[in-house]
C-alpha cells in the first residue's frame, strides 16, 4: 500500500518515481511483550497507511481482544491469526508493505517467544536491518541477546535498538543510557556496521515518526527518518558472477538455455563463464527474455543464458566467473540453527538443500554449540530446538558454494528431515574442509565384481532388525548355517559382539545409537565389497539409520528383514534378563520400554516369529535370496 496522496500532479511522473525508490527489508524482533507488533501498527497508522475499513475492523477488534483498555490496540493490525489475537501474542512472522516519499519497505513482524525462533529466523533471513525492541522496564533479556545473535548470524549488518515503553519509566535518560551501554557491551563482537539506539513509546508514538516532546534530551533521529536514510544499497553487483541453474529450457532442438536468477555480479554477451562442478568453460551467446534479448544481466535479474558450446549443465550447478570460482566440495564447516523438536544428531542422514541443489548429507561432527546468553562455545552431543552450533558436514555428492559471509545466496542451505519432509534446520557455510580436497577414493583393480565372481555368489547385506529378544540372532544363525552348508561365503555382525570391540566406546543414547549403526553399516559395506554375504543382527530402532545403511549399499544389495515379535513376547522370553532390569528402571534408553522402536515400512522380508521354528524362518529368507540371484 502507498501513502494516501491528495492526488493532482502528473501521475506518470509520480509512478516513475515510485519505481525508482529503493527498498529496505527489515524486521522487528526482541522479547515477548516488548511491543514489536504495536510498533509496526503505529508506523502504519502514523504514515496514514491504514484504510478506513481496516481501521473500523481494528476498532471493533480492539474492543474484543485488545490489551490496551479503551485505546486502539495497534498490535491487532499485524497479529492476523485467530490464535494470536486470542492469546495476544505473535506466533508467526507477518509481512507488511509500506512506502514513504523516500523509500519502499517490507517489514517482517516476528514472534518473541523462544518457541517460535524458527519464525523469527525466517523473517531475518531476507532482511537488511533489524529493529531490536527492548522494554525499558526490563532492560536486556535473554531473547534480546538471542535475536541479536541470530540477526548477526544471518548476515544483518544494521541494528536499531528501540528502547520502548519509555513512557512507563518517566522518559528517563538514565534508564535509556544504561540500556544503551548494556546493549553496546554485549553486541560489540557481533559484527554490526551500525547500531542506532532510539528511546521510544510505540503506543503513544514518541520518536516513531515524530520527535518526542517528552524527551528533549534525545537529539538523535526518529525511527522513520533513520529507516528512510540508512544506506542499504546492494553490493551484490560488485561480487563475482554467480548464477545457480534452476532449470534447462529446451523448447525445441535449436534452443538450449540455462534459466536462473543472477545471484551476484554481472555478465554480458561474449563473456566466458565456467560450469562450477565440471570446470568446463564456454562463452555467453545469448541472454534470452520474453522482452527481447539482453546485452547484459546483473544480480537480481531472472534470465535464460545460452552458451556457445554444447556442454553439460543441469539444475544444481552454478555458472560462475572463471577468474573467481566458488568452492566445490563434499565436506565443509557451517553454522547451523536447529528448528525441530527432534534434536539434530551427528551421523543421521538428512537432505541438504541449497537454492537449486539437493543432496543427502550427514553432520559428521558437532564441534560446539553457542550459548546465546554468553555467546560462549560449549561442548554438545546433539543440537536441540532453537540452538545454534558449529558443525562439519559431509554431503553425498559435492555441492557448489561460497562462504555465507561473502554471499548470502550461494552460502546458505536448509536441512530437511527425510521422512517427515519438515524443514528442521538452516545453515550458513564457513569454509570447505581441507580433507575433502585431499582425500580421494583409491581406485582398485581387483574390484567387487572380481571378488564376488571368485566366490560364485552375489554379495548381500542381510539386515535383521527387531526388538531385543525378538529372535534376530537366532534366525540369523540358522540362516548362516544353511548358507555355509551350501558353500556360500558369509559373515555375521552381531550387535552385542560388535559392542565388545569396535563400538566399545558407545553407549545407548540416541546419538550413540546412530553412530553405532553408522559404523556397522560401513563395515558391512566393506565386507560386501569383498564379495561376502553379510548378516547384520542389530536392533537398529530408527528408520533414518536403516535408510542410511541401505543407501550405502548398491541397488538391490540391501535386504531388510523385520523380525517381528510382539513386545510382550520378547519381554516374556527375556533371554538376557534385560527387560526385567529395564522395567525396574535399572537400564536407561531400553528399546521398547524407554526408547522408541520405529517399525520398518517396507521390509524386503517380514517375519512373524510367534509359533514358527527359526530354521523355517531362515529358509524363507533363503528362498527370497535365491529369487534375487535368479533375477540377475
Amino acid at each position: 500500500m502507498n501513502e494516501i496522496t491528495d492526488f493532482s500532479g502528473d501521475m506518470i511522473e509520480y509512478l516513475a518515481e515510485q519505481e525508482r525508490k529503493t527498498l529496505l527489508r527489515f524486521l522487528t524482533c526482541g522479547s515477548v511483550d516488548d511491543g514489536k507488533s504495536t510498533l509496526i501498527g503505529r508506523l502504519l497508522y502514523d504514515t496514514k497507511l491504514i484504510f478506513e475499513d481496516q481501521l473500523a475492523s481494528l476498532e471493533s477488534d480492539s474492543a474484543k481482544h485488545g490489551t490496551t483498555g479503551a485505546d486502539i490496540d495497534f498490535a491487532l493490525l499485524v497479529d492476523g491469526l485467530e490464535s494470536e489475537r486470542e492469546q495476544g501474542i505473535t506466533i508467526d512472522v507477518a509481512y507488511r508493505f509500506f512506502a514513504t516519499a523516500k523509500r519502499k519497505f517490507i517489514v517482517a513482524d516476528t514472534p518473541g517467544h523462544e518457541e517460535y525462533t524458527r519464525n523469527m529466523a525466517t523473517g531475518a533471513s531476507t532482511a537488511d536491518l533489524a529493529i531490536v525492541l527492548v522494554d525499558s522496564r526490563q532492560g536486556i533479556l535473554r531473547q534480546t541477546r538471542r535475536h541479536s545473535y541470530i540477526a548477526s548470524l544471518l548476515g544483518i549488518r544494521h541494528i536499531v535498538v528501540a528502547i520502548n515503553k519509555i513512557d512507563l519509566m518517566d522518559y528517563s535518560q538514565e534508564v535509556y543510557d544504561k540500556i544503551v551501554a548494556d546493549y553496546l557491551e554485549f553486541a560489540k563482537d557481533l559484527g554490526f556496521e551500525t547500531i542506532v539506539p532510539i528511546p521510544m513509546s510505540a503506543r503513544y508514538g514518541d520518536n516513531v515518526t515524530m520527535p518526542s516532546e517528552n524527551m528533549p534530551w534525545y537529539q538523535g533521529p526518529v525511527l522513520l527518518d533513520h529507516l528512510e536514510t540508512v544506506p542499504v544499497e546492494s553490493k551484490l553487483v560488485d561480487k563475482p558472477f554467480r548464477m545457480p541453474v534452476q532449470l534447462v529450457t529446451r523448447p525445441n532442438l535449436n534452443f538450449r538455455g540455462f534459466s536462473g536468477e543472477v545471484a551476484s555480479g554481472k555478465v554480458k554477451l561474449g563473456d566466458t563463464v565456467t560450469v562450477a562442478k565440471s570446470g568446463q568453460a564456454s562463452k555467453i551467446k545469448q541472454i534470452a527474455t520474453m522482452d527481447g534479448d539482453l546485452d547484459s544481466a546483473e544480480a537480481g535479474q531472472a534470465v535464460t543464458l545460452v552458451l556457445e558450446d554444447e556442454i553439460e549443465v543441469s539444475r544444481g550447478n552454478i555458472l560462475v566467473a572463471p577468474e573467481a570460482r566458488p568452492n566445490v566440495a563434499d565436506q565443509f564447516q557451517a553454522k547451523i540453527i536447529w528448528f525441530d523438536a527432534d534434536a539434530m544428531i551427528p551421523g543421521r542422514s538428512y537432505v541438504l538443500r541449497t537454492e537449486a541443489d539437493s543432496t543427502p548429507a550427514t553432520i559428521t561432527a558437532l564441534k560446539y554449540h553457542v550459548n546465546v546468553n554468553s555467546f560462549a562455545h560449549e561442548a554438545a552431543k546433539a543440537l536441540n530446538m532453537n540452538e545454534v552450533g558449529v558443525c562439519n558436514i559431509s554431503t553425498q555428492s559435492p555441492i557448489v558454494f561460497d562462504a555465507y559471509k561473502d554471499n548470502r545466496t550461494t552460502g546458505n542451505f536448509v536441512i530437511i528431515d527425510r521422512i517427515s519432509n519438515k524443514t528442521v534446520g538452516a545453515g550458513m557455510i564457513d569454509f570447505p574442509l581441507r580433507r575433502s580436497q585431499n582425500v580421494h577414493w583409491q581406485a582398485v583393480e581387483v574390484n567387487k565384481q572380481a571378488h564376488s565372481e571368485l566366490k560364485a555368489q552375489k554379495p548381500a547385506v542381510l539386515w535383521f532388525t527387531g526388538l531385543s529378544g525378538s529372535g534376530k540372532s537366532t534366525v540369523a544363525n540358522a540362516l548362516e548355517k544353511i548358507l555355509h552348508a551350501k558353500g556360500k561365503h558369509t559373515y555375521m555382525l552381531d550387535g552385542d559382539n560388535i559392542r565388545h570391540g569396535l563400538n566399545r566406546d558407545l553407549g545407548f543414547t540416541a546419538e550413540d545409537r546412530v553412530e553405532n549403526i553408522r559404523r556397522v553399516a560401513e563395515v558391512a559395506r566393506l565386507m560386501a565389497d569383498a564379495g561376502l554375504i553379510v548378516l547384520v543382527s542389530f536392533i537398529s530402532p530408527f528408520r533414518s539409520e536403516r535408510r542410511l545403511a541401505r543407501e550405502l549399499m548398491d541397488e538391490g544389495e540391501f535386504v531388510e528383514i523385520f523380525v517381528d515379535t510382539p513386545l510382550e513376547v520378547c519381554a516374556e522370553r527375556d533371554p538376557k534378563g534385560l527387560y526385567k532390569k529395564a522395567q525396574a528402571g535399572e537400564i536407561d534408553n531400553f528399546t521398547g520400554i524407554s526408547s522408541p522402536y520405529e517399525t520398518p515400512e517396507n521390509p524386503e522380508v517380514h517375519l512373524h516369529t510367534v509359533g514358527h521354528d527359526p530354521f523355517e524362518l531362515a529358509s524363507r529368507i533363503e528362498d527370497f535370496l535365491s529369487k534375487l540371484e535368479k533375477k540377475d
Binding site: M1, F97, P251, M290, A302, V414, N421
Partner: protein, 299 residues
Amino acid sequence: MSLTHLQRLEAESIHIFREVAANFSRPVMLYSIGKDSSVMMHLAMKAFYPAKPPFPFLHVDTTWKFKAMYEFRAKMAKDLGIDLLVHVNPEGVEGNINPFDHGSNTHTHIWKTVGLRQALDKYGFDAAFGGARRDEEKSRAKERIFSFRNAQHAWDPKSQRPEMWKTYNTRVGKGESIRVFPLSNWTELDIWQYIMKENIPIVPLYFAARRPVVERDGALIMVDDDRMPIGPDEKVEEKMVRFRTLGCYPLTGAVESEANDLQGIVREMLTARTSERQGRMIDKDESGSMEKKKREGYF
C-alpha cells in the same frame, strides 16, 4: 543501473515459478480470471520463455461468475495456446447451490473450497499456484510463499515450515501438496502498475461503464443475468460503476467510478480510502473468516 521495484518483483516471481517446475511432478496454476491471475499468467509465460509453461491452468468454476469473465477466459485460453482445465463441483450443480438460497458461506464452501479439493485430488496435483498477495488480508500476511498442505488439503497456520532466504523446501509426501504464491510480495498498486507497464489484458469489468445494479446491504450488486432475484423494495438502476476485485457476481460489490482506463484506475487507487477486499462479501461473514476458510482448503 540498479533494478526498479517492478523488475525486482518480477524476478522474484519468475524464480518461484521455475523452482516449482523443476521440483514438482504435477504442478498446476489456479486461474481465477481476475487481475492477479492475469499478472500471474503473464509472469508464467515469461518464466519459461521461449518454452511454454510446463503445467496446465485450472479454473475452479462456481457457475456464478460474471458473463464477461467467461468470455475473457475463453479468449485467453485461445490467444495464449495454453491447457485450461475447468472444474465444476457436481454436488453444487445437483444441489443448485447459490448465494441467494444458501448464503455466501455455503456457496463459497461447496463451489470453491470443496470444488478445489475435488479438482486437486482428481488430477493428483502436487503443487498449485495461487495469486494471493500478503497485502490483501491479515491471515494472508502470515502465509509462506511455499505453503504446505496435508493430504486433507488443510493449512496449519501454527506449524508452518520455516522459509529461509529463497531456499524453498519443495518436498512433500504422498497426497500432500504445496500452495505456491508467486505474488506474495506484490501490492495492489504494484499489480496495476505492472498491468499498465506490460499492457496485460484484463476483464473489462475493471473499467467503469454504465451497468445495471441494485443496492443491497450497502453494496452495489450488478444484475448480470436473470438468476438474480430482485426484492420488492429493490430498484435496478443504471450506474457508472467498476469493480476492484472480481468473484461471483452476487457477492461482489461495485464501486461508483468514472475511471474507464488504466490511468484512471491507478489515479483512483492512489486516493482510495478503503481496501480492495471491502467489496468482497465473503470476508465479512465472521471475524477471522479468511483464515478459517484457508484451514479448510480454500485458496
